[in-house]
């Protein structure tokens, strides 16, 4: 019977160590294979997850539990215009939603357009959004300097503006307090009353490159229509978003006198949809990256099997001797298995260490990449490495143990 004791484990450990240090170069090359495999799994997964969480954070930053309504397509006869181009959403719709929907925190209509802005000789072209004070709640906008648009501003149609930090940089320069300064939008003077906190971002819809003005002022001075280009609604919680969305659809259909929701002249998007779409994209990315890394792990595993098989062949006589002096099959089996497992264990530990360091260092050099080391990927990588050791060590170990001592001793 297999006698398990500390003697046995101690012997097994010593023999394994002896065998591995007996051929240091080969052992370390094999370990290297596993190190690269494990490290790349951890690094790749951390890059994938970093991308996922940074995208999710970006989406979250536009507001939480956000529902966006945009006007439907313009229709003239049978010819469809582009979606969002129609003027179908009115201030009255906003009021109706505000008064009749349950479970909402805020409703903020917006009218926006790109305009040329000038201020003391500098000028820029940016998005001007006319909106209400709720906008800051609904879209998670925080104020760095001054104030956001207030009810007072709306009531009086005050010609005030709140700048995004990038717009401030363009018009006044970095680090300058713009509060109290005057900017010209379509040749109308607006007084700057505040500046928002940077949300980070770039490109065409940069949340930092924007000017907010009161909706009423927008309607009076910058456009003369009653239509809004979008309505933003924040629901109380994620759970009730669907119900809020249904209520809104119902209200709008009724107000717009549309019977069938297929003919709706507006469209409703909610943030969860966007997040889940983005997550599925980044999820695919993570899978792609980890399967590439997984291949290198597999190759590392085959490296171990290769080394173990070579070792078995090379040590055939030694195995024969061990069997001849009465060491049982099971111990021969265990010893070779232990060698393979120890190789993967050392490789796995070093690999985790290396992968961890790489995950920390990579974002420092490639600033556009963010990484997030997940505990799960470490556990996964380690158990895969242990599994690789057992699976790829098992066959060579069995082969060694099953050698006939006579044949093995005769082996040249």
């Amino acid at each position: 019977m297999l006698y398990v004791s500390c003697f046995m484990i101690q012997d097994l450990f010593k023999e394994t160590l002896w065998a591995l240090t007996g051929n240091k170069v080969r052992s370390s090359l094999t370990i290297l294979g596993i190190v690269i495999g494990i490290a790349s799994v951890i690094t790749m997964v951390s890059i994938g997850q970093g991308a996922q969480s940074s995208i999710e954070k970006n989406i979250q930053s536009i507001g939480s539990n956000l529902i966006m309504i945009s006007p439907g397509a313009q229709k003239s006869g049978m010819i469809m215009g582009g979606r969002g181009g129609a003027q179908t959403l009115k201030i009255s719709d906003v009021e109706a939603i505000r008064n009749e929907t349950e479970g909402i925190i805020g409703v903020a209509p917006e009218i926006s357009d790109r305009n040329q802005i000038t201020a003391k000789g500098n000028n820029t072209n940016t998005r001007v959004i006319g909106t209400s004070p709720d906008y800051s709640t609904v879209r998670n906008i925080e104020i760095d300097l001054g104030v956001f648009i207030t009810d007072q501003h709306i009531k009086k149609s005050s010609k005030v503006a709140v700048l995004g930090p990038t717009t401030r940089d363009d018009l006044f320069g970095e680090g300058i307090d713009p509060v109290g300064k005057v900017i010209k939008i379509k040749n109308v003077d607006f007084e700057v009353v505040g500046m928002t906190v940077s949300k980070g971002g770039s490109g065409f819809n940069n949340a930092d490159d924007v000017i907010y003005v009161p909706l009423t002022a927008y309607q009076h001075f910058l456009s003369d229509s009653d239509y809004v280009s979008g309505i933003n609604i924040a629901a109380e919680s994620q759970e009730i978003m669907t119900s809020v969305q249904e209520q809104i659809t119902e209200i709008l259909l009724r107000l717009h006198k549309i019977e069938d929701s297929v003919d709706a002249d507006f469209s409703i998007t909610n943030q969860t949809d966007i997040i889940s779409t983005a997550s599925s994209i980044t999820g695919t990315l993570t899978i792609l990256l980890s399967s590439i890394a997984g291949i290198s792990l597999l190759v590392g595993g085959i490296g171990i099997m290769n080394m173990m098989l070579t070792t078995v062949t090379e040590r055939t006589r030694e195995i024969g001797l061990r069997k001849a002096v009465g060491i049982k099959k099971i111990y021969i089996n265990l010893q070779f298995l232990a060698e393979a497992i120890m190789l993967t264990f050392i490789g796995g530990t070093l690999g985790i260490f290396l992968g961890w360091i790489a995950s920390i260092i990579i974002p420092k050099f490639a600033t556009s990449i963010s990484t997030e080391i997940s505990f799960g990927s470490i556990i996964l990588a380690f158990s895969v490495s242990a599994g690789v050791g057992i699976v790829f060590g098992f066959y060579p170990a069995r082969r060694a143990a099953n050698l006939s001592p006579i044949e093995a001793l005769r082996y040249e």
Partner: protein
């Protein structure tokens, strides 16, 4: 102590049956020094494998210390080899790049003995086999042929086996070293160990007190040896 009855070993290769051993019977009692001699292909190696519990006969019975060996399974044979049989091989079969002490302790792996006990027993056996103390920490590949065979003899002794089975122990040694190794084996025999020597050289076989001649799978002759080398004869008297 050893009793073989009608040992037969048949190797089957396709349709042709080869009788490596054909109805071999003999007995060896405790304390004997026996040579088994025969040309290659005579079946002496097969006999050695069976006596060494490395292989089972096709038919026949082999009793070692009253125990029927021929029906044991792999693990039982291992256990038997560990406790009852010490092997000395032609090619020494030491672990490469490993100290003398570690080599001698090899059969004690996975047994209930402490490191201290193992070391003590190994040192004792090495002294017994005539190995110099200052070589105990040497690596096996730094030894001369004669020294390697002494280490192998010490290893064979470590479990205090009933028999020591030496398979061409001098095959890889020059004449002078061969003599010292054979003298060491005779010493062991004098101290009470049963020794079975397998060889094809008459000179070597002559160190034993009894010689079994094997040819074509049968025992040709089994006789008391009267040709023990002169210096040895003196000792034994």
């Amino acid at each position: 102590m050893i009793s073989c009855k009608n040992l037969t070993k048949i190797y089957q290769n396709g349709d042709t049956k080869t009788f490596a051993l054909n109805n071999v019977s003999f007995e060896i009692s405790e304390g004997e020094f026996v040579s088994i001699i025969g040309p290659s292909g005579s079946g002496k190696s097969t006999l050695m494998h069976i006596l060494g519990a490395l292989d089972n006969p096709t038919s026949g019975e082999y009793f070692l210390d009253g125990r029927e060996v021929s029906k044991l399974n792999d693990d039982e044979l291992s256990e038997l080899r560990k406790n009852k049989i010490g092997f000395v091989f032609q090619s020494f079969n030491l672990l490469p790049r490993t100290t003398v002490l570690r080599n001698v302790m090899l059969p004690l792996l996975y047994t209930k003995t402490t490191n201290q006990e193992r070391l003590e027993r190994a040192k004792q056996c090495l002294h017994y086999a005539g190995m110099e103390e200052n070589k105990f920490q040497n690596l096996s590949n730094q030894l001369s042929g004669g020294q390697m065979q002494r280490v192998a003899i010490a290893r064979a002794l470590i479990n205090n086996p009933s028999i020591i089975l030496a398979d061409e122990p001098t095959g890889n040694l020059d004449t002078k070293t061969s003599r010292t190794v054979m003298e060491a084996l005779r010493e062991l025999n004098k101290k009470g160990h049963t020794i079975i020597l397998i060889t094809h050289e008459m000179d070597v076989a002559n160190y034993a007190n009894r010689i079994i001649f094997v040819r074509d799978g049968i025992i040709e002759k089994d006789e008391i040896n009267n040709h023990i080398p002169y210096n040895m004869q003196q000792e034994t008297k």
